[in-house]
Symmetry: C2
């Protein structure tokens, strides 16, 4: 009988791969650093932050108008306007004790002014007319109208931002409103990226016959640089040499929290990455049942995650989009970002091999007012233009034999 | 008759505001800079880039397997396997002329290898068995199976990336694959941010009675820093003083392509921003019919856009989300990014004042397997926690009197 060449095609499903990665390939200890709240968006906060004050610190007007006593206006109508005497003007930083309102009186207030004592509502400029020192109010004003009550936003001692959350612009504004000028965050996850392939040349250099420009690591680096709590370092191209690759991986792992090696992920003579990782570390998984991107593997080397990705850019992109990006969010305790998607009608039949989850690049177009999508050929994971020209992708389940012509699909926008 | 206080409440609709901003408030000339393709994601490319080579430069295998002559396999079946003699091995950078295939022969190829002369298909490792120097093929292989044809990705001279497009990771990979190590891009749009308000203190400093921490500019800066072709510079807090504000705006406009002034956007005594802009420049619009965010204005000062935003963080956020972010993309000739959204049932009636487009923050939750949303009160554009705790927002049209309880709405996720 003939010898099968499929020496190492053990593979697991994508969901299981993410679960295993999250369970077994932790990101090591991240140093805590202090960042200005003006410059911390997307970083992960390293401790719980509590409100140091009530906010607002007192009852405040949130419009330009007149502070009044609501009860004064209860009978007001256009035919029976209530006249209130203006007794003064509150500037935004005046104290509430500057005036003590009596019935029949009003105080001019600006947006953000404290409410003068005894007043319990604000009527907007637009809703009154001015008669010398009096305003005419022509409708009843509810109690606490246009007033932000003390502590309405938050109370002193409340948690403002929880340890482990990713800082959004509004979280930082909330911290600022309570007086925090700096915030303790985790340093960014450092990912070292290495390219392998004796046939590869850096873009910008001369190209000898039989050589190709490295494009996959350009994609990997720029893709990961979009994740705000990640920083990348590119380590260049290593030849298909086990010793050199081993040394490079050791160096990268020493300087980073995680490594990604692009290329050499198959099982032929020249595919050294998988053999090197087999020798250096411990597999979490060797291949994933996705198309393209099957040779995507993950090993632990000195306890640190080392991902082995296809040297083909489209296969590497699927691994980033479907595995590594969700992994990075989930392993940090965050929800992966939701991507926008649209429903469209598939224009052509897309066959699928049962057992593989396929990521089919599609182009959207309109026909008779309906949104349709045209698949790019599944083959050619080296064909970058299929990724560049597509509007998004359709995920075909591993349980499905494909998508029929005319079937409605969910197109995830790139 | 009484004097109305509504001196300057002229306002235009949001769509008209965006149109006017894009038409009249251009971003000035941006300097062209060269960036490494490893570090240019999200920047705007400053010239057309053309392919310098065919890609792939020759017919290549895109799997590990054996290059064959497809016609040899046409009668193959498990009962009638075709035996092909292995005549050698192509490394990824070997030239196609290394072997010239005859009928009945096969050459071992790796992913990315050039196809040897005369071969016209590749059979995958997984699909053959090895018998000493022979492989057994048990099914017919189509011509050009597993082969990326010369120029299939792109042809020499084709446009790879068009001037004015925003560089995505795959665009940069495409440029790399054609040998470009650097790419000419526009410098980032520099936006200077100024805060006004005599009652405001920088977070981190001591808070005197009647003073408040500046949080809105923290939100504005961090929000804009997420746009990859923008860089921001924060200019601190200016008091409510026309002369000082005028000097600050002059300085900012001198150093930046655009300015944003937060606070002082109303029409009371202390609201100096609008008065200063009235004196310094030319209005594009003074207010917008949105809630919150009505006092959002835009003026041209020395031909440069100066946005006047509410000092309230939630109102400023609506202006950023609904106006300034779309403006920046459209004015640069780009499509604003699509935000993910979900359909949900509104739990409570949300009234709307006809004529205003309202941005209602909502919290999502599930009930009996259905997705519902609960609105935060529309009031309180100073209430940051409504923004922090919400999952997204619902846009209520200016033509609508509101959303009924039980109505299906589109929730745009933050």
């Amino acid at each position: 009988m003939g010898r099968s060449l499929c020496v190492s095609l053990e593979m697991i499903g994508l969901d299981e791969a993410i679960e295993k990665a999250v369970s077994y390939a932790k990101i090591g200890r991240l140093t805590v650093v202090e960042k200005s709240i003006y410059d911390a968006c997307g970083l992960i906060v390293a401790e719980d932050y509590y409100a140091s004050i009530d906010n607002p610190p007192c009852d405040k007007s949130y419009v330009d108008g007149f502070a009044i006593i609501a009860e004064d206006t209860y009978g007001a109508s256009p035919f029976n306007p209530v006249m209130l005497k203006i007794i003064g003007w509150m500037k935004p930083n005046d104290d509430s004790s500057k005036f003590i309102l009596s019935r029949g009186e009003a105080v001019w207030v600006s947006t953000g002014s404290a409410l003068p004592r005894n007043s319990n509502a604000v009527v907007m400029y637009e809703d009154v007319s001015l008669y010398n020192d009096y305003i005419a109010v022509t409708k009843p004003i509810n109690i606490w109208s246009n007033v932000a009550k003390r502590g309405e936003d938050y109370r002193c001692g409340e948690v403002l931002v929880k340890k482990g959350s990713m800082l959004k612009p509004w979280d930082l504004a909330l911290l600022a409103s309570s007086g925090y000028g700096y915030v303790k965050v985790y340093e960014k996850i450092r990912i070292g990226i290495l390219c392998t392939g004796s046939e590869l040349v850096e873009p910008g250099r001369n190209l000898d016959k039989g050589m190709y420009y490295n494009s996959t690591c350009v994609l990997i680096k720029n893709y990961l640089d979009q994740i705000p709590f990640v920083e990348t370092m590119y380590y260049g191209i290593a030849p298909d040499d086990e010793k050199i690759l081993m040394d490079k991986i050791t160096a990268i792992i020493g300087e980073n929290h995680m490594a990604i090696v692009s290329g050499g992920a198959g099982y032929s003579e020249v595919d050294v990455t998988k053999r090197v990782l087999e020798n250096m570390g411990k597999w979490v998984f060797k291949n994933i049942a996705i198309r393209p991107g099957k040779p995507t593997g993950l090993a632990l080397v000195n306890g640190k995650p080392v991902y082995s990705l296809s040297g083909f850019p489209v296969a590497a992109w699927v691994a980033l989009e479907a595995l590594i990006s969700p992994y990075l969010y989930i392993v940090m305790g965050l929800k992966p970002p939701v991507k926008p998607s649209v429903k469209a009608i598939m224009k052509r039949k897309v066959p699928n091999t049962v057992g593989y989850r396929s990521f089919v690049r599609v182009k959207l177009f309109e026909e008779n007012g309906k949104l349709l999508c045209e698949p790019y050929l599944i083959k050619g994971s080296g064909i970058l233009s299929s990724l560049v020209k597509s509007d998004g992708y359709v995920i075909v389940s591993e349980n499905s034999e494909g998508v029929d012509e005319g079937e409605e699909v969910n197109v995830i926008l790139k």
